[in-house]
């Protein structure tokens, strides 16, 4: 059964399409005509085509969201925050996952652009930056999450965490818990993680504690974590500097690192302290101390930048908080 169009409604109600449009969008009409139109709408089960509407507006009422990896709890909360603001502004969220693949990233950003999203929020690498800049310049607000953008044009915003401070919080807490030999597991060269490690190293150094490059292990993905940890311990053994704390620089690897530790017979916190990024529902039950980001709030603010369209480029930096539990041997 074919869908009714505004023309069908008009014919059924015995008025013009313009009048139907006015009734639907709140123009000046008589109560009687309005009634006729509404009953025609009901009779034909008319559902206005939002796509066509968007053509006139030039844009759709849709916020594009491109995420690298939905499985991280951080992104989950981020999306919920975005969805809340979008719904409040009568918008929908268009979502796509890139599975950390640069090609998909570019493709998805292009598709979002072609769908004339009213704004784009993404947690991607730099591969799509060219298009993003152009989108921003042509009036589509873009928000880069978890990364700052150099020389951002108006309309291109960023939302990130004070990662240096996150590292500092970790150092301070570990030191307060009496740990002196810290090892780090990071998933690579993403700026956020590099900065966290840097902040950690800085604040550790201020306390006379070292964080040599050998104490930093890189694991691209969950599967590489075991090997990375083994290598880390081996290097520590060679240097005769056993590690008494492991910091995980990304929430994505929390499970993997924690499992690797216990799989090696290590007890947290007695044998080794464990400290990671991003709070998650099970952290309390497990007693895992974390440095948390206000992920939900960050999602809300990202969506607000899209909805409110500030003239200038804005770079929002959120402050991390340490949530102490028991995994660092807290007293």
């Amino acid at each position: 059964m074919k869908r009714a169009t505004i023309g069908d409604v008009a014919a059924h109600a015995g008025v013009s399409t313009a009048t139907v449009s006015r009734v639907l969008n709140g123009g000046a009409v008589t109560a009687t005509t309005a009634a006729k139109v509404w009953s025609a709408v009901a009779a034909l089960e008319y559902s206005p085509n939002a796509l066509t509407k968007s053509i006139f507006a030039g844009r759709s009422r849709t916020i594009g969201v491109v995420i690298r990896d939905l499985s991280s709890p951080f992104y989950l909360d981020l999306i919920r925050g975005i969805d809340e603001v979008a719904t409040a502004d009568d918008s929908l969220v268009m979502f796509a996952n890139t599975f950390r693949d640069a090609d998909r990233e570019v493709a998805h950003v292009r598709t979002m652009d072609e769908h004339r999203v009213r704004g784009l929020i993404m947690t991607t690498g730099e591969s799509a930056d060219g298009r993003t800049r152009r989108m921003a310049e042509s009036g589509v607000p873009c928000v880069i999450v978890a990364r700052t953008v150099p020389d951002a044009p108006p309309g291109l915003h960023s939302i990130s965490l004070n990662n240096i401070e996150a590292g500092r919080l970790m150092a301070a807490h570990l030191a307060a818990c009496g740990r002196s030999a810290v090892g780090v597991v990071t998933s690579g060269r993403r700026p956020s993680q590099v900065e966290r490690t840097l902040g950690l190293r800085l604040a550790l150094a201020e306390r006379g504690l070292p964080l040599p490059p050998e104490a930093v292990a890189v694991a691209e993905s969950e599967t590489g974590v075991g090997a990375a940890i083994d290598a880390l311990f081996a290097r520590a053994h060679e240097r005769q500097a056993p590690v008494d704390a492991i910091v995980c620089a990304t929430g994505r690897l929390t499970v993997a690192v924690h499992s690797a530790l216990t799989a090696r017979g290590l007890t947290v916190p007695d044998d080794i302290a464990f400290l990671t990024m991003d709070d998650f529902p099970w952290a309390t039950a497990l007693g895992i101390t974390v440095v948390a980001q206000p992920s939900y709030e960050m999602g809300r603010e990202a969506a607000k930048l899209v909805v409110e369209q500030p003239d200038e480029s804005v770079a929002l930096v959120f402050e991390p908080t340490l949530v102490p539990r028991t995994s660092c041997g807290e007293r």
Copy 2:
């Protein structure tokens, strides 16, 4: 800076809009004209308007997804599965969260319909069923997840778990682990949970084990879990039938129930066995035994129903699997 339209490209290339359209969509054109058009496209940074395209197609290349509660791990995997199939079919996912609110549910389904999604996948209550039926009848495949639909018209499909079997698996496992007095925490009257409880009761009865109504506690949300458990234990105490196992009938409450147990000084599995629905990343580390759904696969199949548009109404039922760990005192 205004966006270039197909007319601008045509003018720039010195051809008609029809020709540009043909070049873009692979019609019959000379190599030379194609080259001219492509260079015009590049020069003007032309990005075709997917919205306008959809008007002709009658539908957009977008799959709508309406979820009750993104925070459940089941839905996360479901979405990832949907996204994968959507991307492979050159589609985007339009997402909305209902926060378990019936009004939002109806509103979101309507908005999705107005956006002319090519199909709709949802995990909602019955409030939007009327519209869903109509959508299905007018050629928009709709897939209801986690619920079966009576008298479904062609185009209205359902994807669910064999919940009776899930309950049976739980009963068998608990019995094998030597537990005989089971208590259940469920979040309410959703059919899936009712069926799981029923399957559990049936299979328990076959083994001569009881599951009286008093042994089933209802907690609408996380916050109600503590009280529900207390009431459950109190009733068991009155009846002088202490409970030696707690079954959580929904993955959404796993954290809350587990926390409530440990908060009451109960050790799992020594004091009490714990068995819940839906696998999750931390389950291994925590040793929690679960009955898992193939959530990712279910998402893929749901999306396939949208993409492949079978003529008949199909009701896919997936089989649960028990993943034994240590929380039931397994040997």
